[in-house]
Symmetry: D3
């Protein structure tokens, strides 16, 4: 007898893995943006906000290197320094950036509206809660207690300095799943606000949900969002949806408070034997 048996997981979702800034905490993912701009200014390089945000979600040293390799910035570097960039230069810039980042970290501690409620709801459904971040362990040591105070405490946090390579590689998400003891990866949903967040989840074979309004792609504080004209709001939100959809996200939604509906939809698909 020659038969093939195609296995598919058809139980419910078992875990959610959340990103940090722009996803559960720090509306608009503002915390890392200004330190980057400031740091580059100290090195006589003028970067725009959208250039600063492009590679968001990566390990911060990788992030700096990616910005420095943008043609417009590379040109500035070469014109000013009359020589090519070295790894040493990147180290210098990274070390300059670190204290600037630490300084502002706690200013952006506020949970994003709906974060606590969504996590509580998910826990009630029996889901475990992992998390991964582009921050280092040192930074998370500051942020985790601040989140806990506000009622959000994931079962684990994996930081970029704890895996051999940061996003878009899947290692942080996979380590988080291993600590949760949860598999197959099609029983997990990765939630984040950046392109590399989504790629991290896809590369791990997880479901992925992108948050367009409260995170890095919109890149504005809650009051800034509310102050936008309807036209400007639509243009910016559409651009955010477009960028995150094109990353391959299974779902793009406004914010973490819209997640429960998506969990139900994924559960319906899993039940039919669909995979991410």
């Amino acid at each position: 007898m020659s038969h093939l048996y195609k296995r598919s997981y058809n139980g419910p979702l078992k875990a959610i893995i959340f990103d940090w800034a722009g996803t559960t905490m720090d509306y608009g993912c503002l915390s890392p943006a200004s330190p980057f701009i400031e740091t580059f200014k100290l090195f006589n390089l003028d970067i725009s906000m959208s250039e600063a945000r492009g590679p968001m979600g990566m390990f911060k040293r990788d992030h700096i290197k990616t910005i420095l390799n943008m043609p417009r910035i590379k040109k500035q570097w070469n014109e000013f320094y009359k020589r090519d960039l070295t790894e040493k230069d990147i180290d210098n810039i990274f070390e300059t950036y670190l204290p600037l980042q630490f300084e502002v970290l706690a200013n952006f501690k506020k949970l994003i509206p709906g974060a606590k409620e969504t996590v509580d709801h998910a826990r009630k459904m029996g889901l475990k809660i992992g998390s991964t971040t582009g921050y280092s362990r040192e930074m998370i040591k500051i942020l985790l207690p601040l989140a806990t105070e506000q009622g959000y405490c994931p079962d684990n946090v994996i930081c970029m300095d704890e895996v051999p390579a940061g996003r878009p590689s899947p290692w942080m998400a996979v380590m988080s799943a291993m600590k949760l003891g949860v598999y197959p990866f099609s029983s997990i949903v990765k939630v984040g606000d950046t392109v590399v967040d989504i790629e991290e989840g896809l590369n791990a074979g997880m479901w992925t949900v992108a948050l367009a309004k409260c995170g890095n792609e919109m890149g504005l504080s809650e009051s800034e969002v509310n102050a936008l004209s309807p036209i400007e709001y639509d243009i910016r939100l559409n651009r955010a949806y477009n960028t995150l959809s094109k990353a391959g996200a299974h779902f793009v939604i406004d914010s973490i408070s819209d997640l429960p509906t998506i969990i139900d939809e994924i559960n319906r698909r899993l039940q039919k034997g669909e995979c991410p």
Copy 2:
């Protein structure tokens, strides 16, 4: 605009992750079978070869526990010992088993025909070679040099005592991939000869290939296989194919020497955007 972009990897395979006994080394997966039977005899428990082999591929202590929980064996335990089994008993049996296993390990060091050639062929195609095993690191320390002598040396070996849970969990396969720096998991094929080998790969979202003839499911040495009557050979091989297909293996083949054709077929499917 409301569009969905479904991402799929359409490059070629990047890595293979092999099991050890019954896959690349030790035709018939004989090494662990006899120590198990012998060990149980020392505890006045009579287990058949097929009972000994059922959970093959698991971490050896889990393997012992699984056998002890089979109704026929549980009954024997209860009748002889007049009491229920404890975790302590399992520890005792495991510790009794270990030296018996170490004793015979080197006797089954021979590579399975085609293992070296297939790995060389895969490396020439640019594939990396990971490996995972139900053996402990102590045991692999003995086997790895013996394999290397014969021309087979994978880029890494992950042992069961190095992850929080053994097969069928995906952790060993995923650790091996992380060490290789290879993702997405759909660019990797897991190859093994047991049900839990296949489940390890499926749980990691990898392609899976099961080996029916030279491994645990057939459970015979090369000369024993050759001595089978054609009818008996067909019955046993069919049973092996059936068991491994029902585990959900994407492909079941006779042995590692048939792997190159499957690699080509997987590459064809990947190119069309199919996933495991």
Copy 3:
């Protein structure tokens, strides 16, 4: 990186394109049937009602040519005229047919039950309403005001003499969509009562809904339908369903008043990224 991104539209339906006779107006698509039979009689050719209706939906000159090429009719022609048919003959027949058609046009002006309500419902959902027809612009100039009086006025009408080729080619449907400014074509549903209506929609890549009971395939007036014995009713309706299903219609329903449910179902499918 080798990745494929399969785009699919997952917003809601944006437009419906309706056929005219037998779809929104003229229950049973009676208006063109009798003039055809009468015309052929004037040329000493005896065609049955089902032969007259077979190519319904085509441009009327094409329709006439198709009938003349049916073996049974061709034989009649040759027996009577003792010569082969020429394009000139077709022109003559077409010109004879035109005034007969104009004469009866207004007699069949009544909207099909549910047409107005369904269109109003669709407009309320935000859908635009296009239309295409096998009638010429001259004929539509008579019918459009009659429809408008009864409360049905589509956003546009494309006639067969305004495109290089009639149904089953997709050009009328596509012109209608262009005038509506609506795309992708998977956001549009074509609704009609004939085989070529469905083919027009399929050739344009639109969703297609066929109407079995009130149109050309049943080919009876409302009172004639009501007078059928239950058995005869079932036979005829089944035959209509069968013919329209075999044209490849995504959905076959009784009449335009059953359309709202189908719109909802298509919206559900689009949301999951399914395409026509």
Copy 4:
């Protein structure tokens, strides 16, 4: 009987619709780039090459408007002119751009290597050749004889000023197909070098092939490409592949000379009843 009949086209490809600059003519799509930069300089706005190229493929007035709405450029406008941009301003800039574009048009007349051979090969396979362009009819009147001289003369050219809306809408591609008399749209492949080229094809339900190396995304002349260091070449080509894949292109290849293999692959898929 309740049966569904899902129709799919399973004949071969019938037509190819090519874009012009960067696809069949003008390696690197250089012709429109410099006039844009020059034009903006005349209005005291400094735009980078990558900003100039972003919306390439659109109708040129739309292109100018899109650039002016980029945050960095908008800011420049507001700082210099101390007032908001008006439609009148866009008209002025467009009118300034036109003569600059006409001036250089003929400088970039050279066919891209392989264009003539690929078109000849396709014609021999029985395929018809349509074309669409972001240029106006006035511009194409200059370019078409220059292409013809070099042996490339498509069966038709549809220009942006001949349809109600330019790319990414499907109207040009659909008009080209209508003139060719070719349908269903799944029997047509749209070939181009920009994001909106691909979207034009996808919105029409056609197969789409994106050209990464010789067109707008690489944005370099043949000699500039050859002068790149291998690393820089890889970075830029990967970026081009990534952008075009994320637009949803069914295939991304280096240049038009790689198209024949893709035609064969699409024919294989059509034969199995697959659709774009």
Copy 5:
């Protein structure tokens, strides 16, 4: 653990089940056509060749009943007999038809070109050969020896009077498979030249191949086919292809001599786990 295992047969085809007249024997399926026309003439009913052939493939009494229920024929009946048709009438006509059919049976004994060769080829590939027919056992008793003489002898023949219902029901095909001892039904291909042949196969869950040129849909003898003008040939063959495709045939080919390529294609699909 919640897993679904979707089984699919991925071995090769095991059997072919052929229709008789128009498929393996009697080019053009001529044998039953004239007796039908003659019979109806005896009852003062004038039926066209295309009406005679419409329900071909059915049990002959069902075939007669289906013709009598066509509106045009029903009308003739009622006008001539001034009363409704009864089951008794159908019996009379059937009994009148039988001797007329028997009379001509042997005149159409010639195998269709390629029938013997294709069957021999299939047997060499290890395929078993079943057959089903609209003829009664009495008729087959005449035809089977005549086929055997010419080198074609299927492993079994199932006749319509041996099952509770004829085509389009699947019972004859299923009985043939049971006698061959072959399953699953996806390992069998049904080959025939009529709509109900295809429906018989589809209703049994088998692969189906329709023969367009040498059977009932073309309805011409080999010399008649050769005498057709190229245009007439194309029109008739296209119509045959269209009718058989719309029945849902997996493949439509000219004749039995084209079958070997299709067997290979089906085997390729089965190997990938595709089902009919």
Copy 6:
């Protein structure tokens, strides 16, 4: 025109075909288990309950032969009888088994909870009820009146001695469908409690539902099930679910009383044109 029309049945389910022991009657499928063990004891062979139950669902003589071919039992035979097994021996054992089976048959006559209600519900939905069994006609003659007394009387019963080969072949299921006059097979669901029950249905192209709790895989009476510790209950039920899922069942549920929900789900899938 080259088009493919993929037909799929999209009406509702038309029939259910039930197995007998362990499915509608005889909770735990106890009736055949003890006679087997007793019979083997009379031949000096010691078989465990799980060995006795492994091939359950097969024709009883096949069942006996399968047990005798298990390595552990074969060894016992050879050690005791000092010679190989013959077909004659199997006949002897089968004849010894028969009266033992008849003796206990009526003891297990009780319908499984929910059987009557589910069948009544299905009949109200318009479904026909077929049945197939591993029992012989002689045995069913005893059981059918006992079932009827309790309110369960299927439209037909097909026994293993009425078809050329028993399960896993599809012949009984197909004969039952033929007697019901129901097709296509995708409009039928086969319900049973053993691996070969599911394979019978799959081989016929039907939907399959496996019952895990009240049948052979659990293998316990209702009171035994209720007496299990929660842990033991979970282990045994999981094992039953796992075995039946791996047979390829489309759905695995606890018992026949959970069937109505599954019927609704299958109807939803059929409506979308999905097949088993």
